[in-house]
């Protein structure tokens, strides 16, 4: 094979290989095939949920992709863009973390985790406005009325 052809083939193959890993991998895929991905650089995308737990210069950020959540070990300097974490009253920021996946992390007591090298914000979180559910409110009053009727009949029976 001539040198330019070999180089072009190599570059094409290399780019394809990188692009494969550049695709975000789901939590299910990572957990079910943990041995396969162990020690490899992966892209993992999801919503930041719960607490951001700072431990010195690093922090644990739990990221849920809709099925499972995985812990991301991340330098706090990379967390500046994260404003919202998911809870009942808020939707967390969406992030894509690129880093080394560990099936049983030797640094963290065997946790299945990702040590992030970089993160990219993919979606903005927000506060959720809770709207009063009118049907539920009406049901509360209806059932209250029924309790009142039973109570009155109980009093009448007692007399």
């Amino acid at each position: 094979m001539k040198k330019p052809t070999f180089l072009i083939s190599f570059l094409v193959f290399f780019t394809l290989a990188i692009s494969c890993y550049a695709q975000p991998v789901s939590s299910t895929e990572l957990i079910n095939n943990a041995k396969l991905y162990d020690g490899k650089i992966v892209n993992y995308e999801g919503e930041v949920i719960g607490d951001i737990m700072k431990r010195g210069d690093y922090a644990w950020v739990n990221v849920n992709d809709g099925v499972n959540a995985i812990g991301i070990w991340i330098n706090t300097a990379l967390l500046r863009d994260i404003g919202f974490t998911g809870s009942y009253k808020s939707v967390g920021d969406g992030i894509e973390a690129t880093g080394v996946f560990r099936r049983a992390c030797p640094e963290h007591g065997g946790d299945l985790d990702i040590h992030a090298q970089s993160i990219r914000k993919t979606g903005a979180g927000r506060q959720m406005q809770e709207r009063l559910n009118i049907d539920k409110r009406n049901q509360v009053f209806i059932f209250l009325g029924i309790i009142g009727l039973i109570w009155i009949s109980k009093l009448l029976r007692a007399k």
Partner: protein
């Protein structure tokens, strides 16, 4: 000849069932207060609807079935078994209304799992569940762990003999104090003291690992309730893996072990008798069993090279083993990792630990250590009889609060309940296999449900067949009540259908 139950029987059962439902309704006040404090409007409405429906049923039953009579053994057992079903149906209402459970059956599954202190879950999008609903999930484990009838005993029931019958119906046959109502109150006292200590410990641990203070104490209370009551629910999807913390795991191990100990131990410690912990047949059996099953699991994990470091083996291997043996079900690994990484030997060790369970008269499930100890002593006695000369008189004793001579009656009782558990484990396994799940996975999930553990290897899922969900609900219920009250209820229905007047 089977006698058809009289209307009087039905009225007495209905009246006491109504009282228990009223007691349960009152417990919904706790999440309502939290919902109001946190301004979670719709979740508060869910619980207002739940409490109102519960009050309606409770008031109807106590009004229509009003009686002054005390419970007989049969009636007490039936009240207990029905009250657990009522708790499931009513406790599921606010859960279902939240929209985080796909069907009412799923919400019932969750409620039974909570009350029976199992911890298997079908919740959707747990990370966005309100604090109000999350508190309820954990509170029902606290209520169920102590016993639903004990709630009523502490609040409403006056008759001592009827109270004792309900107490026994909930798989508790040891009185800590001469009066069963005082025993029930003492169990609550112990539980509340531990609740305060456990919440403080976990809350401080939570703050030290970077959680917001409010969240740390909320999680602390939830993790304590589901840990002490060996349930295994957690406020986040990742269960214990959410915290990524050795300190949090260590505190939780202590809480799980404390919860799996006999309430009689706690009472003995309370009155200063610390030696009991070292002399008692249950604590000895529990220690030996944990060590043996962990040894087998560790050999398997080591052979497969799953956790090369000692710390990882402790945090993953030992934690899961203790969690399974105490029938808690807290996990620091993902469900599928049991199947893909632990190997058959490791899984068998964990299944054995789950099946054996914690101590009698505790919040734990499974066969129980007292029965295992008694069976082992009986085996020793039989071996001695074979070895020693025929004229030798062999007497076997064991220590459980006091020195007790081993009798055939105790051995028979222990063996019967053990057999019933094994049949229950097998039944769920068969149903799982019927739906195409592999043997070991079916056995794992079935044992987890029937021994009220809560570990899942992935079968428990919102998409699993409905009949399998019902099977696991039945297993959780029968396993928690240790069969007698469930058998009595089945017998009662047979008597209604086939009994003679």
């Amino acid at each position: 000849m089977i006698l058809k139950p009289r209307l009087e029987d039905v009225k007495i059962i209905g009246f006491y069932l109504g009282k228990i439902i009223l007691g349960l309704a009152l417990t919904m006040v706790v999440p309502i207060i939290l919902g109001l404090a946190l301004k979670e409007t719709n979740p508060t409405l869910d619980f207002l609807i739940g409490i109102e429906i519960s009050f309606i049923f409770g008031l109807l039953l106590t009004t229509l079935c009003r009686t002054e009579k005390d419970l007989s053994w049969m009636q007490g057992m039936i009240v207990v078994s029905l009250s657990w079903l009522a708790a499931m149906l009513l406790g599921a209402i606010p859960l279902y209304l939240s929209g985080h459970w796909k069907s009412y059956l799923d919400a019932c599954f969750e409620a039974m799992s909570g009350f029976a202190t199992t911890g298997l879950t079908l919740v959707q999008d747990l990370d966005h569940l309100s604090y109000t609903h999350n508190l309820w999930r954990h509170l029902i484990t606290f209520i169920g762990g102590q016993g639903i009838a004990i709630v009523a005993l502490s609040l409403f029931v006056k008759g001592a003999s009827g109270a004792f019958r309900m107490y026994v119906g909930e798989a508790r046959d040891e009185r800590l104090l001469p009066n069963v109502v005082n025993t029930a109150r003492f169990i609550w006292l112990i539980s509340f003291v531990y609740l305060i200590l456990g919440t403080l410990s976990l809350g401080i641990a939570g703050i030290s690992i970077g959680m917001r203070p409010g969240n740390a104490f909320f999680h602390g209370a939830c993790i304590f309730m589901a840990g002490f009551d060996t349930a295994g629910f957690a406020p986040q999807t990742q269960n214990m893996l959410y915290y990524h913390s050795l300190i949090f795991e260590l505190v939780t191990i202590v809480i799980m072990l404390v919860g799996a100990l006999n309430f009689n131990f706690h009472y003995q410690l309370w009155i200063g008798n610390r030696k009991e912990v070292f002399k008692n047949i249950e604590s000895r059996a529990f220690f030996i069993s944990i060590m043996l099953t962990f040894l087998i699991a560790a050999i398997s994990l080591n052979q497969l090279g799953v956790y090369p470091q000692a710390l990882a083996l402790f945090r993953k291997g030992f934690f899961q083993l203790v969690s399974g043996h105490t029938t808690t079900g807290y996990a620091t690994i993902y469900a599928k990792q049991f199947i893909t990484e632990w190997g058959d030997l490791g899984l068998v060790a964990l299944i054995c630990a789950m099946g054996l369970g914690g101590c009698a008269c505790s919040t734990a499930g499974g066969i129980k250590m007292l029965r295992i100890g008694i069976i082992f002593k009986a085996l020793l006695e039989d071996i001695k009889k074979i070895i020693l000369p025929e004229r030798a008189i062999v007497v076997q004793k064991f220590h459980h609060i006091k020195e007790i001579f081993l009798e055939d009656k105790q051995v028979r009782g222990a063996l019967l309940i053990t057999l019933a558990y094994l049949v229950l484990y097998g039944f769920g396994t068969l149903v799982g296999m019927f739906y195409g799940y592999p043997f070991l996975e079916s056995l794992f999930e079935s044992t987890s449900a029937a021994a009220n553990v809560g570990f899942s290897c992935g079968i428990t899922d919102v998409n699993m067949p409905s009949f399998l969900k019902v099977t696991y609900i039945f297993q959780m219920w029968a396993g928690r009540l240790e069969f007698m009250s469930v058998f009595t209820l089945l017998g009662f229905f047979v008597a209604i259908l086939r009994g003679k007047r």
